[in-house]
């Protein structure tokens, strides 16, 4: 274990998180999705405004806004980070940029801010992510050059097929996947019922199935009433008749946004703010596109190696659940105790709004650590076309 920095000075450029909020996550469904009448940029603006408000940061000190987003067009086009910052009422002096590491975009935004702050380049940066997968479906308007795939295959563009292959080659049976998904829903439902998400969710206007105006305070895809029997009845989605992966063991397509305020610890001290967590290290890796689900494993190893931390020292893991098979593979390969992984449920239950999910799991992790869930936490994600990204956070003792 490296020594924990505790003494903060005004020149301390250690990147810390001082506030984070997310919207509830909606189903990306044209009739039932609670955000079907709400735009992605509105969700992003709501998350940014709430995170800034919660952090108490001096708004004039915000230098940049970095949002992750995979479908940067339409309502998420033209640099949605800048657009959302303007909508959120940030000072005109706060700049904005939008980044894309596909599913890892939200964590990428956090990592870039950390690097900038650590380098002394910026002092205060708002980061986050947004994705409205109903309005802008994940595979629309993408036209990969065939030569991108000359070292892979077209099947590798189907995340579901890569997960099926992972399940088959790692021997992860359907039953085990469904048990994980069931537990994900159970934990998420319990956390929601216990009010554990209340501190991280900013209510935004939405519509229920009948069209009535509501305040969205609860993630729409969490099912408290789901059962192993109900899951067992579903047809495989990606390999009908052959596969093991169903709608229950794939993350639901979702709409949502999340934002965090990152700043230099010295600046937080100067502004009289209490940091929630510091960003210790970040790591990205490339893997075979067909093995995209394995990405979190080498990314986490590289991350811990970089930080000089043993895997046994990590109290909490947030590993994005794109597929149950993928997260089970990651947990097995890293030798993790499932009790420490996604303690409040994962994206299988909460939903996976692609570009937002990294910021969402980081937000959930910061709140879990702050609640006393532990000192060190890792957020990790698999990324399409073969990547992994991981970020190590440490609670800032209050």
């Amino acid at each position: 274990m490296p020594p924990t920095d505790t003494v903060a000075t005004a020149s301390d450029s250690t990147p810390v998180i001082v506030g984070c909020r997310r919207t509830a996550i909606g189903r990306a469904h044209p009739q039932r999705g609670m955000f079907r009448h709400v735009r992605g940029d509105e969700l992003a603006a709501a998350a940014i405004a709430a995170a800034v408000e919660a952090s108490g940061v001096d708004r004039q000190s915000i230098e940049d806004v970095i949002l992750g987003c995979t479908q940067q067009r339409g309502e998420q086009g033209g640099n949605v980070a800048r657009a959302a910052a303007l909508m959120a009422g940030l000072p005109l002096s706060a700049a904005g940029t939008t980044v894309n590491r596909l599913c890892g975009s939200g964590l990428e935004a956090l990592a870039r801010a950390a690097h900038a702050v650590r380098a002394g380049a910026e002092r205060v940066v708002v980061v986050g992510g947004v994705e409205h997968m109903h309005h802008l479906p994940m595979d629309s308007a993408i036209d990969f050059h065939p030569r991108v795939l000359s070292r892979s295959s077209r099947g590798a563009l189907s995340m579901g097929l890569t997960a099926e292959h992972l399940a088959a080659s790692a021997g992860i049976e359907r039953q085990r996947q469904e048990a994980w998904a069931l537990e994900s829903h159970r934990r998420a439902a319990a956390a929601a019922t216990a009010g554990l998400f209340d501190g991280e969710i900013v209510p935004v206007q939405a519509h229920d199935e009948a069209g009535a105006l509501i305040r969205a305070t609860r993630d729409q895809s969490i099912r408290a009433d789901t059962s192993a029997a109900a899951m067992a009845r579903l047809e495989p989605v990606f390999l009908p008749g052959l596969g093991t992966i169903t709608a229950a063991t794939s993350a639901p397509v979702s709409d949502g946004a999340a934002a965090l305020v990152v700043m230099a610890r010295g600046e937080a001290l100067r502004q009289g703010l209490q940091p929630l967590a510091r960003i210790v290290a970040t790591a990205v890796v490339g893997v075979a596109p067909a093995a995209m689900g394995t990405g979190p494993v080498p990314a986490t190893r590289k991350l811990l190696d970089r930080a000089g931390v043993g895997i046994g020292d990590i109290d909490l893991f947030e590993i994005n659940e794109a597929f149950a098979a993928q997260v089970i593979h990651n947990v097995d390969a890293l030798g993790l105790d499932p009790a420490r992984v996604n303690v409040h449920g994962g994206s299988l239950a909460i939903g996976h709004p692609l570009g937002a999910s990294g910021a969402r799991i980081a937000t959930t992790l910061v709140h879990s650590l702050a609640r006393g869930g532990g000192r060190l936490g890792v957020a990790a994600m698999c990324v399409g076309l073969g990547q992994g990204i991981a970020v190590l956070l440490e609670r800032e003792s209050s």
Binding site: R147, L149, S150, S152, S153
Partner: protein, 740 residues
């Protein structure tokens, strides 16, 4: 190239041109060396409509390479076609059929010899470029791949592909070795295992071609490539790369193998060995150098060539080819002088009439559609235009095209519009009184040379012909539903129908993109007569207690696109009932009208169109479209239960298909069709009989007549329908074959 001297190969070196440049002329190609030193070899294989890879071409290519080795080396070689629209359209099927009879070691030697020849191209110091304008398929694409670079053209006729799997084969001259090394294994598996072609721009994007240019730029582009390749000798680097192993991550290789195997298994149902062989060959060759990988290809190729599926698929290809050339009548005046109609008309705007009218529009005809019911016409027109303007690629009708086609469709409620028609296809309801009246009307309006046809499945042509003063110009033209999808058309000859009428009907059906078969007038004609025992037997088994799902599953596993009871639901049980009455009346000794069908009809279970027949059908896409309805059906079948009979799966297939073989022997005995080839073509095109089995009679031949007799023995108690026919017994005794 207005004059093409066909030089002798041994003395092919003929000086030509006045500028001192050289030319060499061979039977299938001509090479011209320009003053700069670039040789352009132009391919023109005589005796075929398109360029095909013949033995002569291979010898000519070898001779050209010999020539180029003797003198001053050229700067580079451009390989192009002298035939617009065809670089190489594939293999010489005659040569392929010879290959089917060869022994595996000889086949492997032939593969090796071809590869060695192509390898000579890649071992010269100078670069070579193929200019691909038009079809470049199979062995032709392998020749193009043997060049250092390729230019494709953006012309719509340019198509590159390996269609071998469609004949149960795979590339045998290094296609499975070079393509993955050029475009990556994933794209290579997709292209070779599926057998679909790609256009010029796609080939360039894939990296299969270096560039795609307009046809008039192609030769200049090829020259530029030769310059550029020479400038840095990069053709040598390319050759080294293609000779080596494939750079692919093991995880990607395993993923490609597993996912492609699943896709292929889903598409082929395990019935077609070529696509999985392509996959295995490509995967096995990835970690090997090209020469070693090629040996694996040769062995796999030889295995496929000697497989029964390849033999069957080549046979089916030949049947189609023969049908396209067939005039439908014996050689003579009628066959020689067919004037196809230019002013066709359809009478009757029901489902069939509308489908036939749409087929005309789609094939570029202006067509008249007559129906006495103005509302029926109005209802039919939008559907006709949508069907005619349907774009298969976008899966929707092209509105601009529909608008243009509207001008080609004339509608009227009076038969007077028919006065200038030269072909009238009557397609009114299946009632002989209505048809007789209509046909009489039609004949009074049309000119004396117009051909009159009726689209019917149940009315004897001889009876309908009585309405006409000139029955010689009359025939049946039996389309199948849905017209847009069903390619088979029965041209039915009445006793008075002339050869000239038949020839016109056959030629016209071909212009509609259909596959016409001439059938003598008889109940059920050919297709429904062969369909009858198949459908009938499925209901008999149901009555004996065999579940519908099992019967259909066995049929599908046999290779049928639908099981017989599923087919009932598609046809409509009411329609099947009426058609069945006619057949039962004619062939009552072996087929009775099953009481189960009217029982279901009375219960409102008409099939898909009523939401349920033997199965429940749902239009909700979220649900399975077809669901087991055995609980609903059981009480309807119960009054007609037959003694319980345990039928194993193998016996289900025998019971479904052997009575069809028996019926086919009767059809042949009666001379309803000319020969067994027409039976097989009809079974494949109209009933979806699996092509990998080569056709019904090819399947029967694979069993052998004696074996069929043996398999019928335990079924003898089922009655006359399982009795061997004299023709079958004769074949069993002589060891003869059903097909030639």
């Amino acid at each position: 190239m207005s004059t093409r001297p066909h030089g002798d190969r041994d003395t092919g070196d003929v000086p030509a041109g006045s500028d001192g440049a050289e030319s060499w002329v061979f039977e299938t190609l001509r090479a011209d060396c320009d003053p700069a030193g670039i040789v352009t070899a132009t391919i023109h294989v005589p005796g075929h409509r398109h360029n095909v890879v013949t033995q002569t071409f291979l010898l000519d290519l070898e001779a050209l390479l010999d020539q180029l080795d003797t003198g001053l080396p050229p700067l580079g070689l451009i390989l192009a076609s002298g035939r617009p629209g065809s670089f190489f359209s594939g293999a010489d099927i005659g040569r392929l059929e010879t290959l089917l009879r060869a022994a595996p070691p000889d086949i492997e030697w032939i593969c090796q010899a071809g590869r060695d020849l192509f390898a000579r191209l890649a071992s010269r110091p100078w670069p070579s470029v193929a200019v691909i304008d038009g079809a470049c398929l199979g062995g032709g694409l392998e020749i193009a791949l043997a060049c250092d670079a390729r230019i494709t053209t953006s012309a719509p006729h340019t198509a590159l592909g390996f269609p071998e799997v469609k004949l149960g084969l795979m590339p045998g001259w290094g296609g499975t070795v070079l393509l993955p090394r050029l475009v990556g294994p994933g794209a290579a598996v997709e292209m070779i295992a599926a057998g679909e072609s790609i256009d010029g721009p796609t080939a360039a994007r894939l990296g299969l071609a270096d560039a795609c240019v307009p046809p008039q730029q192609a030769m200049a582009a090829a020259r530029s490539l030769i310059d550029w390749l020479r400038a840095d000798n990069s053709h040598m680097a390319r050759r080294r790369r293609l000779a080596g192993t494939v750079d692919i991550d093991p995880a990607e290789r395993d993923f490609l193998a597993a996912t492609s195997a699943a896709v292929i298994a889903g598409r082929t149902g395990g019935h077609y060995p070529a696509p999985p062989a392509v996959l295995d060959t490509i995967i096995a060759g990835l970690d090997l150098r090209a020469t070693a990988a090629a040996k694996i290809e040769s062995k796999a190729f030889a295995r496929l060539v000697t497989s029964p599926v390849a033999r069957n698929l080549v046979r089916v290809f030949r049947l189609g080819e023969r049908n396209r050339r067939d005039t439908g009548v014996a050689a003579g005046d009628a066959a020689g002088t067919v004037t196809t109609p230019t002013r066709p008309a359809v009478v009757g705007a029901g489902i069939m009439g509308a489908g036939i009218a749409a087929a005309h529009l789609r094939s570029g005809f202006a067509v008249s559609l007559i129906d006495i019911d103005r509302d029926a016409l109005a209802r039919a027109v939008p559907g006709i235009l949508e069907e005619a303007a349907w774009d298969r690629a976008t899966r929707r009708a092209d509105p601009a095209r529909a608008g243009a086609l509207a001008g080609q469709l004339r509608t009227a409620t009076q038969t007077s519009l028919l006065s200038d028609a030269d072909l009238v296809i009557e397609s009114a309801v299946e009632r002989s009184d209505v048809k007789l009246t209509l046909l009489r009307d039609i004949e009074t309006v049309v000119g004396p040379t117009a051909v009159i046809a009726t689209n019917t499945s149940t009315n004897p042509i001889a009876r309908l012909a009585r309405a006409l003063r000139d029955p010689g110009r009359f025939c049946g033209l039996h389309f199948f539903n849905p017209v847009r999808r069903m390619t088979l058309v029965e041209v039915v000859r009445g006793p008075a129908t002339t050869d000239a009428t038949v020839a016109v009907a056959v030629a016209h059906a071909k212009l509609l993109g259909k596959c016409p078969i001439v059938v003598q007038d008889s109940p059920g004609f050919l297709v429904n007569r062969l369909l009858m025992p198949y459908l009938h037997e499925s209901v008999e088994m149901l009555r004996e207690g065999t579940p519908a799902t099992r019967i259909d599953r066995v049929a599908r596993r046999f290779g049928m696109p639908l099981g017989p009871l599923e087919l009932y639901d598609l046809i409509g049980l009411d329609t099947a009932f009426y058609a069945g009455l006619v057949l039962a009346e004619a062939y009552g000794d072996r087929i009775e009208a099953s009481p189960v069908i009217p029982a279901l009809v009375r219960a409102g279970r008409l099939g898909r169109k009523s939401g349920g027949g033997f199965y429940d059908h749902s239009h909700d896409r979220a649900e399975r479209p077809q669901a087991d309805a055995s609980a609903t059906i059981a009480p309807l079948v119960a009054p007609y239960r037959l003694p319980e009979r345990s039928t194993p799966d193998a016996s289900i297939a025998d019971r479904l298909f052997l009575p069809v073989v028996l019926e086919a022997t009767r059809v042949l005995e009666e001379g309803i069709v000319r020969d067994g080839n027409d039976v097989d073509l009809a079974m494949i095109h109209a009933l979806g009989f699996p092509p990998f089995r080569g056709g019904l009679l090819a399947w029967a031949d694979a069993l052998g007549a004696a074996e069929i007799v043996r398999r019928l023995e335990p079924l003898a108690d089922l009655g006359p329908r399982m009795q061997p026919t004299p023709r079958l017994l004769a074949l069993a005794a002589s060891g003869g074959r059903f097909t030639e």
